[in-house]
Amino acid sequence: MAASVVFYRLLLRMCPREFRDNYGDQAIETFAEISRQRADRRGRLAAWSFRASAYVDILVTALREHAAAIGSDVTYALRLMAKSWVSSAVVVVTLAIAIGVGATVFSAIEAVLLTPLPYDDPAQLVFIFDRPLDQPAAHGSETSLPNSLDWPQLAQSFSAIGSYANWTPTRTGAAVPQALPGQVVTGDFFRVLGVRPRLGRTLSEGDARPGAPYTIVISESYWRQAFGGASDVIGKTVLLNDLSYRIVGVLPGEFVMPRAASLNGHTSDVYRALPNNASERDAHYLITIARLRPGFSAQAAQGDMDRVAGLLRARFPVANANLAEHVVPMSVQLFGAARLMLSIALAAVVGIVLIACLNVSNILLGRIAERERELAVRLAVGASRRRLIGQLFVESAVLAVAGGTLGLVLCGLLVRVLPALRFDLPRIELVHVTPVVLLFTLGLTFACAIGIGTLPALTLTRARISGALDDAGRSGSGTRGKFTRSTVVVLELALALALVTGSGLLVRSFVALSAIDIGFKYDGVVASNEIMLPARRYPTVASQLAFAHALDRSLAGQPDLQSPGLMVSTPLSNENYNAEGFRIQGRPSTAGANRTVEYNAVTPGALQSLRLHLLRGRLINAGDTEHSSPVAVVTKAFARESFPSGSPIGQRIVIAYGANPPWGRTIVGVVDDFKMESLTEAPMAQVIVPLYQDMMPTFQVVGRTRVSNERLASEISLAVRSIDRELPARHVDAYAAFVSGQRSSASTAAILLGFIALLGLLLASLGTYGVVAYSVGQRAREFGIRRALGANAWAIASSVLVGVMALCGAGILLGLALSAAGARAISALLYHVSPFDPLTFFAVALTLSATALGAAAAPALRATRVDPVAILRHD
């Protein structure tokens, strides 16, 4: 045979089998004949030009034939869908739920985790935190300026290191003084992030030199708000804390500070440079960020910083005693918790998709059983098995595409609701349906099509289909089909159990977290933001004292505030002060070294409004002033650590904070422990002194109220500004909202997984219902005969329910194994709950059994109502 014909035969193989069988030989023959004829009569060129177009033609024919076959399959599938529209609707809705929830979780992952940080080459950015050398697992904390300025000289892994701290200056000079959210930053801060200014320049080393002129850069939003977006803003001056600052630049609108919660769009308005000669080496108040040199990993940088920290410990044995550094990639620090939570949600979604596919597979298996005769006939008249399987997959694809489309609609709705649910996920408001989400949905839909089509297709490959012709079709699917369907239900129940167990553990954890006694009665308690007395106008302790007394008196006269007071460090505010030079009189001074003692100063009202639980002695009262003898109230943890045997009342301690020299004080009271930093912290040793006996220029107003925050804020602002017109307005926050915010991470996990688990349970019960209902339908004849022979309704029903319990038992066993494996993964999210909490496991198994039995109840009832006469007559 000529090569040109062989090639044609080869191309013909691209056509569908049916076409080849019917017309292949003739097409080849015709091709050969024309080819020969052209060559003979018109020459080789004409022959080759014919062959070339015939090659293209046969390929086009192949494509069109395939398209026609798929088109007719799709039409057929749509007709089938319409025929059994109830089960089709169940299938489509089931898939829509799975795909919709899957796409939603993925869109959250895209927004929260896959959106790059808004900085140059964000993968190279890290945080550097202090940590105690002897506590490798401790949370990182703030760094000190002298240390962070030494690091660039000593470390090799970083191209730039920068630090920042909160700064809330008061803009004066305008009609109403205004507190501006701001930052002090070191000279290299903007270089680390790679910020390009919108106007002018950013801050650099020159601005941080001691004695450099006062300069600031401002945010784009503040530029628009305060300067109307004027382009000549550069060079203008503003008065901040009574000092004149020159504006040198405007930051781009998209700039945000690298801080987990703040990435949700909170910006600072003003930034000034931190003079690089400042402060003591043991004053830790800076967040430090750094850019890795190309080729350096965070691990390499950690090794580098271990070495550098060792050098500095040797050089500054007192200030840097027990000080080590901790390098954390920026994305891990900011999104680590969210990543864990979303990974768990993703795993749960995989569970849901599997349950949905198994469910749908079972429904399709049932349908195939009904069509067994039709399929057998088609096989008998010569349709190839492959063709029928192809058709089944087209049916699955049609169902999956319908489900995927509806799922996308569901995702579009959920994505809109998601940010409003106030989940504790950074950047969640960025969530929307992007092209990547569409692509993911398409992939998931495709996976579902394969997932739901495989089991039905497998049954077709079995020989028994051809045997269906002999049979009347009544006993249709044999024990094997029933076994397959039962196995599917067991798998579904097991997956659902694992999901419910996971969410059950998270709910238990949330309950445990909610039950934490935070040590004070926060309902109705409010705290203002900080009042800072500028050093220029309040240079002396006496002037600060005068202000504090005046404010305390003025607040006491406010009818909306009960027991108001001033407090230097309010609970859960993240602004805590470590006591310095602490020791117990009558003991060697080393006894108290290396002990962390939290230091606080208050006026009497503050402790009353928090309603701390007094264990011994007395609270700080109005008699404790700068003129009375120094006293202190301590917490239970302090008493236990410092005076394990015997009462601390009447004991003397020496303690101080900041500029004040250590004073000797008498302990007059012990209060129960209360939380200062987070809900889950261990009790902290705290010493609380009267503010008037250790005056500090920074404090907050604390009190109880029944009026709105806004009203109270204006009343407090009025009180403050009646004493000093130059001080800015205050706002207040309610503790109740604050505490629930602290619990929101736990509730987010519980709600997220709980919702998905509930869907899983629902789908699994639907699946159980389907299988039981089907098997009751199959056994109608058996039930009818048994009824005719005198079996009572209960015997019939229990024979159905026993079957369900067997399925359920198998599902529970498999599910428990699955849960045990999965529980490890969520253990990091659990608080005071073991990942193998027996109570949760038991409750979940019980729930699952109840659900399965509930799903089986209706079919079981139907089984008892089978009319024996009708059944026997049908025979």
């Binding site: 076409f19 030989d25 003739q26 097409a27 015709t30 091709f31 033609d57 046969i58």
Partner: protein, 106 residues
């Protein structure tokens, strides 16, 4: 139902009597003066469609025919479809002529 050009010519070729595939190609080529040359893939796809639509039927070859070939002829349905298509085309030509006369006369 509107026929494709190729299908139309295949029906015309088969209107003359039973033909095998290659003969159809040759007939169509001759009928159109070499304008329409059907390629084998297209031809058998058309034959399959016309067969499924029951416009043509397969007939056994005669004693003088090549036994390896398969022969087709028009069915009654096919003949009806072809004449209605011819009528449709005639109407269209009439309309076009009328239109051109009117335009030309203006």
């Amino acid at each position: 139902m509107k026929l494709s050009t190729a299908a139309f010519f295949v029906l015309v070729a088969l209107a003359q009597g039973k033909r095998h595939g290659y003969a159809i190609i040759k007939d169509v080529e001759a009928l159109t003066g070499g304008e329409v040359v059907l390629l084998p893939g297209t031809l058998y796809r058309l034959i399959n469609q016309l067969f499924v639509d029951k416009w043509i039927v397969e007939v056994p070859g005669g004693a003088n025919d090549d036994p390896r070939r398969r022969y087709y002829r028009l069915s009654a349905n096919g003949r009806k479809a072809l004449s209605s298509e011819v009528a449709r085309l005639e109407d269209m030509v009439k309309v076009a002529r009328k239109g051109r006369l009117l335009v030309g006369g203006a």
